[in-house]
Amino acid sequence: MTSKQLILAAALFAACTANVALAQTPACDDKCLTDIAKAYLRDVAKQDSSKLPWADKVRYTENNVAMMIGDGFWGAGPGINDGGLLLTDASTGNVVWYGISTEHEQPAYHGLRLKIVNKQISEVESILGRKEEPEVFAPTDGFKVDPAFTTKLAANAKRSREQLIALVDGYYNTKVQNNGQVLTAFAGDCVQVVNGVNLTAGDAYWAAKAVPGCEAQMKAGVYKPVERIRGRRYPLVNVDTGVVAALSLEDHAVRFLDYTTLDGKPLSVQFGYPNTRGRLDLFKIDDGRIKRIEGVSVFLPYYIRSLWSE
């Protein structure tokens, strides 16, 4: 064997050993993900990041801006209220927490995503919907997580990961420049809640007053002013419960103020200037139909780039 051949053989051996080592790295299962997320929520409230299992390189964003751990929410008298919802996806290493956090005791709707690699936190992404933003905001006193998001589906009501994502993507495709064409499927009792406000029923939201119901709103073209929905990501899917966690940026270009639904009802945009909504939404899909959408939304500068996907 020549020395060249020896080097090549050694390199091959090293590569194989590395692959074996990677394959043997213990995965972080649902319990492991839950424990790390709970530790994160506990320690952020204590403003103590020193004991958390950080990866060598950590990316932290808050409302789509990258910053250092300790700044932003970490520094603003943070608190975590009880009663949030913690979801995990061991196949992607993502954990999502949706609940109420506080800053100097003032509550905000909070969507948090952690990515765990090798049992270490490598990504932290927060969307915070605060009271003084122009976006909808309901008092948080009555905040309660819908049990649907943790209820397991009957075997025949389950769908594959790919199908679940396609239904959510179809929801966004339906909403973009909404013209009545429905590119997803809704359950008859579908409800959407954003920052605690019901967007599809009741009288707290303009669209619900104009046309109630998830599918009815889309068929009427209520969301025509939505120019595009960018930066769509689906980091967490639970096939057993039919839940998808999605992140997106919804652009309202506001090229027009007034428009009509497809049946001629006059409507106006809510804000007369270009704006973008950063969203973290949870979708519950039962038997291939979107049954519930609930999440957090924040006003962002128009057309802001996603730091995670663009």
Binding site: G72, G75, A76, R130, E133, F271, Y303, R305
Partner: protein, 332 residues
Amino acid sequence: MNTKRILKPLAAMLIAGFANATLAQAPGMPSAIIKIDCDHECLIGTARAYIKALANHDVAQARLAPNVQFSENDVLMPVGNDGLWGSISKVRDGALEVADPQTGNAAWFGIVEEHGKAAYLAMRIKVVNKQIAEIETIVNRPLDKTKDKPKPFGDPDKVSHDPIWNDILKPEERRSRERLETVTDGYFNTVELNDGDVFTQFADDCGRLENGISTTSNGGAASVAQGCENQFKLGIYKINKRVRERRYPLIDEERGIVVASGFFDHANTFDRYKLKDGREMKTALKWPNSISLLEAFKIRDGKISRIEAVFTYVPYFMPSPFALPNTDRQTR
């Protein structure tokens, strides 16, 4: 003698020498001699042409360079159809216009309308070869009628720019480009962590207009204390954790004007604080937020006499597409 072996490295050395000579100017500068290809009148004319094009929704009139960069509230986007280009309905007369032929920058502070509603617009353009290479805009929209963050928004029908902005200073009142910049930077040093120390100088009659409201005589912080220097000596602006990504792209020595841009970071690590006279203040918001601004300073005799700013809220710590990150400051 092997002439080939000697000539080859010699040729290489000569080429390297020429290459070094062509790179011998100041770092980052394309030439060691600044060639002014667009004078004051040309820059103001280019800014006006852009604003006219914007009002007419006709980007072809705007004298744009092929690779122009356009930002609105610190977000880069295609120019000509999106953002304010898609919503503007009118440009009002009476803007404050400033130019700096040495850097090729011009600025425009005025009022536009979106679907009939007035908004404050501040714009900086950078002109290269008589074409606009950069457009940086801050648009401050009116408060939402139901709920919004507290911010000054003056009655657009009552706003005017003080005529002294256009005064040509007497030679003894002028200061060098460098001194004008340091006086302005000292203003931002004073704002940052405002604890009563003043690191710049103010004229006695100094006044500041923010989004159309005088915040030193009858609005905003003026309800606590009046006058530029008094406010800082009292420590009203303590909530500014950082004044970040400061840039001074436009300086007019003849008129004593600096146009600066940057961010005020309100980290809100505290929600109450005390003024130097012992009065307790509450922060307007309890959560981290930043304001992004374009701000003009009139400096006469080395003292800040007028300040005019357009700013808007952006997500906390949002960066500018035109500034280089300062990693030392970001760890604080």
